[in-house]
């Protein structure tokens, strides 16, 4: 079942066509990986899914992005409500310069979810969800920067799931992390799949192969191939895909 269905999406920076005619299904409770060389548009595409590109002036989108059948670029879709439903984790761990607790509580607070007691519950639940609770439960009010980078990234995941999104977008979430921390995040993604739909941008093809169910291969603003991850990495249908995943192109 498709959580998000993108149809014929074009994206412009000014007059430059950065993405052309992208159509892609994002299946519910699955991990979809987007791979491709730097500058191929995969991150731009990801940011179309929660309208984060709206904040950049001179950008324009045509085509449709259906979230549960509703076009998120439709005038009637509230952008704040959309971002509550479609959360995001960024490339570099970027906790707010506040306590661990405040970081996780930020989303629920600004959305007006839950009173003070419920907030503590939401924070614990989210930190457990991000497999960070046991490491931080005794120092919830310490500065988020006291954590290691890997822990900070899991904190950012906890912060994202605290608003109970339906989809989580991850933009190269492991690129700043060491292999052990990366492994933690990948395990976490597999666990989160049960409750969330995940889209991950990665330039690490092994990571895409290890963790995802579906993979889309972007090349110069176009979606070259989209398939079940296993098939794509064993029997790619396009020559370009094969060249890229075997390291001959890109």
């Amino acid at each position: 079942m498709e959580k998000i269905q993108v149809n014929h999406l074009d994206f412009y920076y000014g007059s430059h066509l950065a993405l052309s005619d992208i159509s892609i299904p994002i299946r519910e409770h699955q991990i979809t990986a987007l791979i491709g060389p730097s500058g191929c548009g995969k991150s731009t595409f990801l940011r179309c899914l929660n309208r984060m590109n709206d904040t950049i002036r001179g950008t324009r989108v045509t085509g449709e992005v259906l979230l549960d059948g509703q076009d998120i670029y439709n005038r009637n879709t509230g952008v704040f409500e959309l971002r509550k439903r479609v959360g995001m984790v960024f490339q570099r761990p970027n906790p707010f310069p506040q306590s661990i607790f405040s970081n996780v509580a930020f989303g629920p607070r600004v959305l007006g979810l839950g009173n003070r007691n419920e907030l503590a519950h939401i924070v614990e639940e989210s930190l457990r969800g991000a497999v960070l609770w046991d490491e931080v439960k005794d120092k919830l009010h310490e500065d988020a920067f006291s954590l290691s980078l890997g822990q900070q990234q899991r904190l950012c995941i906890a912060r994202a799931i605290a608003v109970k999104p339906e989809v989580i977008l991850m933009d190269e979430p492991c690129s700043a992390l060491d292999p052990i921390a990366t492994q933690h995040i990948e395990e976490l993604m597999r666990a989160l799949k049960a409750d969330y739909t995940i889209v991950i941008v990665t330039h690490n093809m092994q990571q895409a192969a290890r963790v995802s169910d579906f993979t889309g291969f972007f090349w110069m603003g176009k979606l070259v191939e989209f398939d079940v991850t296993k098939s794509m990495f064993t029997r790619p249908s396009q020559k370009l895909t094969e060249d890229y995943i075997t390291g001959r192109a890109g």
Partner: protein, 281 residues
């Protein structure tokens, strides 16, 4: 000469130029403290001036300066900080925002006596406020705005864009991101700018010359529409306008003004360094 000695000589000369900055400051402060210390007493701080200002104290001038600074703060902080938030966080680069920035740069360059004349024409005469604390505080506030706005804007821009993006990605409005993340981070910088601006206002003579300052008024002001004595103007008066004024009293007044301004400066420095140590991005 070997390049080693060139370097030694070069650094020595550079060190001397750096020292040259410190020397006048020490001389100014030193002279005023040494000469003025003798005048300082409880009575000097808390008594009304008497005997043609040659006796008694400077209480009304001190209170006047504090009230003027407070009035300036009440006007300049909301306008300055509010305007800065708009300029730094909301305004797009249009001709309107460029005009506003140009206005701020120009305001900063206007000589203080011109502010005084503007205050006289605008507030005292045209708006019929008379020579009053209100007129003086408004004049000082306008003069203070560019200082507050430029330092506060720098403080806001120093907060990484990332925090705004993350806040938006969690469904927060732009204002919520500013209110809960950006402002708390920028606050020390903003406070520093506010104090530096107010400090300048507290020490200025020209803008209050025609708008509020009284030559001799040995009582405390009764309302915002009252005149008042003020320290910088009082210092000017007793230094140039009253023959036979004891030097001791002049230096004593200068010392009080200096202490007031330097303590504000110190507060700004402490706040800034305290928060800078805690900042981790």
């Amino acid at each position: 000469m070997s390049r080693y000695w060139v370097q030694r000589l070069g650094f020595a000369l550079l060190g001397l130029t750096a020292l040259a900055v410190v020397v006048p400051m020490l001389l100014v402060i030193g002279t005023i403290v040494v000469e003025g210390m003798g005048a300082i007493s409880w009575e000097f701080i808390t008594a009304m001036p008497s005997d043609g200002m040659k006796e008694g104290g400077i209480f009304p001038a001190l209170v006047g300066t504090l009230l003027l600074t407070l009035g300036t703060a009440l006007v300049a902080i909301p306008i300055g900080v509010g305007g800065t938030i708009y300029l730094a966080e909301y305004a797009r680069d249009t001709w309107v925002s460029r005009c506003i920035r140009l206005a701020i740069i120009n305001l900063a360059g206007i000589p203080s006596i011109v502010y005084g004349l503007f205050g006289l024409g605008m507030f005292v005469l045209f708006l019929k406020m008379g020579t009053s604390i209100l007129a003086g505080a408004l004049t000082l506030a306008i003069m203070t705005l560019p200082v507050i706005i430029s330092t506060a804007e720098e403080a806001l821009r120093a907060v990484p864009t990332e925090f705004r993006t993350v806040s938006a990605s969690l469904g927060g409005t732009r204002w919520q991101g500013i209110r809960y993340i950006i402002l708390p981070q920028a606050l020390p910088g903003i406070i520093t700018g506010v104090i530096l601006g107010l400090l300048r206002a507290a020490g200025e003579t020209a803008p209050i010359l025609f708008t509020v300052a009284a030559f001799f008024l040995p009582r405390l002001p009764q309302s915002p529409f009252d005149q008042t004595m003020a320290l910088p103007y009082h210092l000017y008066v007793i230094s140039t306008q009253v023959p036979g004024m004891p030097l001791r009293i002049q230096y004593g007044t200068a010392l009080v003004l200096l202490a007031l301004v330097l303590s504000m400066n110190l507060a700004a420095t402490v706040i800034r360094s305290y928060f800078r140590r805690r900042r981790q991005w």
